[in-house]
């Protein structure tokens, strides 16, 4: 698919990339360029933000409570079957190790830019709690480093996104009590992260039972370019 290299080429190409319209070869070539080209990454962010309003036309559907119940029981079953799969994971270990080696040897050319492009510092007023969050656009991941402080005994910190113009926060996930947490942001939410506000609240273990923050909000911040 070539022969369309006209004046507004890059802009349209970025739009196609964001819309998953590129074929494999074009997408790989584009991602290789993304690694080196900051302007191109900016274009990607702009296009993602530009297209989000299209989802405004969709009616919101609230999943029934029974779905949550089934989901939770499915998770419990899965952790039970985990033990059985230990043997399998041991056997698979060798295969994975071979794959990792192949990636280390040959993967360089395919590796997207995995350094954070935006960062935010979440800190309590007295700085007894300091958390640094970085966004890796290529993988839609937020990497959260806990620099100081942790939740009180029997509580957990939950990360929220309040998208620009949104009236309710969306849960991004629970934070480890120490060290680093990586959170993969769903594709439909990702474009709103850069311009939104993120917040950390204190919740019961297992996270907010209501889907909205129930405990005190200990820190809020906005992302800025690294």
């Amino acid at each position: 698919m070539s022969g369309f290299e006209d004046a507004y080429d890059d802009d349209a190409l970025v739009a196609e990339y964001v819309l998953h319209l590129l074929d494999d070869a074009d997408r790989q070539a584009f991602e290789a360029r993304l690694v080196a080209d900051r302007d191109l990454r900016t274009l990607v962010n702009e296009w993602e933000a530009r297209l989000v309003p299209l989802t405004d036309e969709l009616a919101e559907i609230r999943p029934p409570a029974s779905v949550r119940k089934r989901l939770l029981s499915a998770i419990e079953e899965e952790s039970a079957s985990h033990r059985v799969s230990m043997l399998w994971s041991w056997l698979l270990g060798g295969v994975v190790a071979a794959g990792v080696l192949a990636f280390v040897l040959f993967g360089d050319a395919f590796r997207p830019d995995l350094s954070p492009a935006f960062q935010a510092e979440l800190a309590s007023d007295d700085r007894s709690l300091v958390i640094v969050a970085g966004v890796i656009p290529a993988t839609h991941e937020i990497v959260i480093d806990r620099i100081a402080g942790g939740p009180p005994e029997g509580r957990i910190h939950e990360l929220w996104l309040i998208a620009e113009g949104a009236d309710a926060p969306i849960s991004l996930g629970l934070l480890e009590s120490e060290g680093t947490t990586r959170i993969r942001v769903p594709d439909e939410i990702a474009p709103g992260v850069r311009t939104g506000t993120i917040a950390v609240s204190e919740e019961p273990l297992g996270g907010s039972p209501t889907g909205a923050p129930t405990g005190p909000v200990v820190a809020t911040a906005q992302f800025s370019d690294v």
Partner: protein, 53 residues
Amino acid sequence: MKELETEKADAVRSVYLDGETYKALAARHDVPLNTMRTWLRRSLIKLKDCLTR
């Protein structure tokens, strides 16, 4: 979005919201794939122009 012709706006929408491919779109509108691509790319640029104006 309103300024885009309905057919083209629908195409952009179905690509974004339903994950349609050029191939599927071309088949649905009964045009060659390359025509579909040119068409949609123009629509996207027009969409951008509308939004940034």
